[in-house]
């Protein structure tokens, strides 16, 4: 019994030693309990820009990559980081963002989020099945030489030629 207890304590210690336990400057991962769904004609893409990041730190952060979490039937074609003006996010829209709208947008790899700043994240996704879906976003970034990942559980559904209702 005593040996079992010691083994359990040792195992717990190993697990704890492997955890950093601290969130990065973008804050802890969270679920927003939101599902966004788009009904698109066959052959069309969808722009998904309902999420944003805020750098709560005192140093600039650099985005490495943004990917869909657990995607099914969706390919990511492009990802941008965009400034937020007048408290307006790009949103959920049919097709590619028009070039005129993309002033100030940066491809996400290497894009900077200044200290205290916010950036809207916009992904262009292509449905490869009648119903595509993903469970959220995984955002990899660096600050002061440290790497972090922020996971946002926000569901995306794309239905080809079928209503979302």
């Amino acid at each position: 019994m005593r040996r079992l207890l010691l083994t359990a304590l040792a195992a717990t210690g190993v697990v704890l030693a492997g955890c950093t336990g601290s969130a990065g400057p973008f804050g802890p991962s969270f679920s927003d309990h939101v599902t966004s769904c788009a009904n698109v004609p066959a052959g069309r893409n969808v722009s998904f820009g309902v999420e944003y990041v805020r750098n709560h730190g005192s140093q600039p952060a650099t985005l490495s990559k943004v990917t869909l979490a657990s995607p099914h039937g969706l390919d990511v074609l492009a990802v941008w980081s965009a400034p937020i003006r007048d408290r307006q996010l790009y949103g959920l829209r049919d097709g590619w963002p028009a070039p005129a709208r993309r002033a100030g947008w940066q491809s996400v790899a290497g894009a900077t989020v200044p200290a205290g700043g916010t950036r809207n994240l916009i992904l262009v996704v292509k449905p490869t099945a009648r119903t595509g879906h993903a469970d959220g976003l995984a955002i990899d970034y660096q600050e002061s030489g440290q790497s972090f990942q922020l996971a946002i559980s926000t569901r995306l559904k794309v239905r080809v030629g079928a209503s979302c209702s």
């Binding site: 804050g27 939101v34 599902t35 966004s36 009904n39 309902v50 996010l89 959920l92 829209r93 209702s165």
Partner: protein, 335 residues
């Protein structure tokens, strides 16, 4: 009578003693994941050192549904602590449900109602008369009224072109404000925490076209209880009664954190805990209006369907998909 009273006191003491093992002094209880904590003060707000604080569980939902007018039910002690010299206390409490916090000194007694799970705050004012410490509170049903509507959700829209609806899932909880009075006189009740009520079945209200704003309501049974051991009178719903009505006599709040949704898209948000309706439920017979808040879980859903037009969805406190803080109220259409 004497034998049953002694047995009841023994059971209560046993409960308190058992709970001592799981309760904490204020200085050591700050890391518990689920707890009730707060401060004991006089009726004027001055902190009271070293008051004794005991938490009691209200009777079960089934027992309270079956309770008849004039019938008394006993509350069950589940935790105990001694407040610090600054009046603060913390008691570990893992369960969900409705609880009565009773603070006691030799001079006065005070109570506060708490509900739900996780971290709960119960700041107790000693407004009641002195009563014995080893007193086991009983609640007695004084009166009930016909079911009355409580607000459990809202949707807002400024322009035509969309549909909106709200779903209240099965076993969804709503928290309703509780009123306390020492006399029980109409109009004398003041806010004293909250109690939670669970829907037995799901409730839907159907969809509503824009540009209307809608308060979604379901009925609760208003009631008055007396609580012994210096407790006083409580205005507190007896139970959830079901039913689905709407009130469209409401206007959109100012919401400026916006995100665009094209035509043929939908937005669904579960977990609508974020906003408390300050005038959510009225116990008309006692002249008390309390708050109402829905959603301790993800069983309540708010939907916007951009069926005929694209539109901005705007949150009052953050973007609709934002967190910490959440958007609170969401309005279709930019001001």
């Amino acid at each position: 009578m004497g034998r049953s009273f002694n047995a009841a006191v023994f059971i209560a003491l046993a409960g308190i003693l058992a709970s001592l093992a799981s309760s904490s002094p204020a200085s050591a209880g700050t890391n518990h994941a689920a707890a009730v904590r707060g401060t004991v003060t006089t009726r004027h707000g001055t902190s009271v050192a070293r008051a004794r604080v005991t938490i009691y569980a209200w009777p079960s939902t089934a027992a309270m549904k079956a309770q008849r007018k004039g019938q008394a039910l006993q509350l069950r002690p589940v935790g105990h602590a001694r407040a610090s010299v600054s009046g603060s206390y913390s008691i570990r409490l893992a369960g969900t449900g409705n609880y009565l916090v009773r603070a006691w000194t030799r001079q006065a007694t005070g109570i506060w109602n708490v509900s739900g799970g996780g971290q709960r705050t119960a700041d107790v004012r000693l407004t009641g008369a002195a009563s014995p410490y080893l007193c086991i509170p009983q609640e007695t049903l004084v009166k009930t009224w016909n079911p009355a509507p409580g607000v459990v959700g809202t949707s807002y829209s400024r322009y035509a072109g969309i549909k909106q609806w709200f779903t209240y899932g099965s076993n969804q909880s709503s928290s309703i404000g509780v009123g306390l009075s020492s006399s029980g006189d109409v109009g004398s009740f003041t806010f004293n925490g909250s109690a939670s009520y669970s829907s037995g079945t799901s409730q839907t209200w159907g969809s509503h076209s824009s540009p209307y704003s809608v308060k979604y309501r379901t009925d609760f049974v208003p009631a008055e209880y007396s609580v012994s051991c210096g407790g006083g009178y409580l205005a507190k719903p007896k139970e959830w009664a079901g039913g689905a009505t709407v009130d469209t006599n409401t206007s959109p709040p100012n919401a400026t954190y916006c995100v665009w949704y094209d035509q043929n898209t939908t937005f669904t948000k579960q977990d609508t805990t974020a906003f408390t309706f300050s005038a959510g439920f009225t116990t008309g017979g006692l002249g008390f209006t309390g708050s109402a808040q829905t959603g301790f879980d993800t069983n309540a859903e708010l939907h916007y369907d951009m069926v005929n037009a694209g539109m901005n969805l705007c949150g009052t406190d953050n973007y609709p998909a934002g967190s910490s803080p959440g958007p609170k109220r969401i309005v279709a259409g930019k001001p």
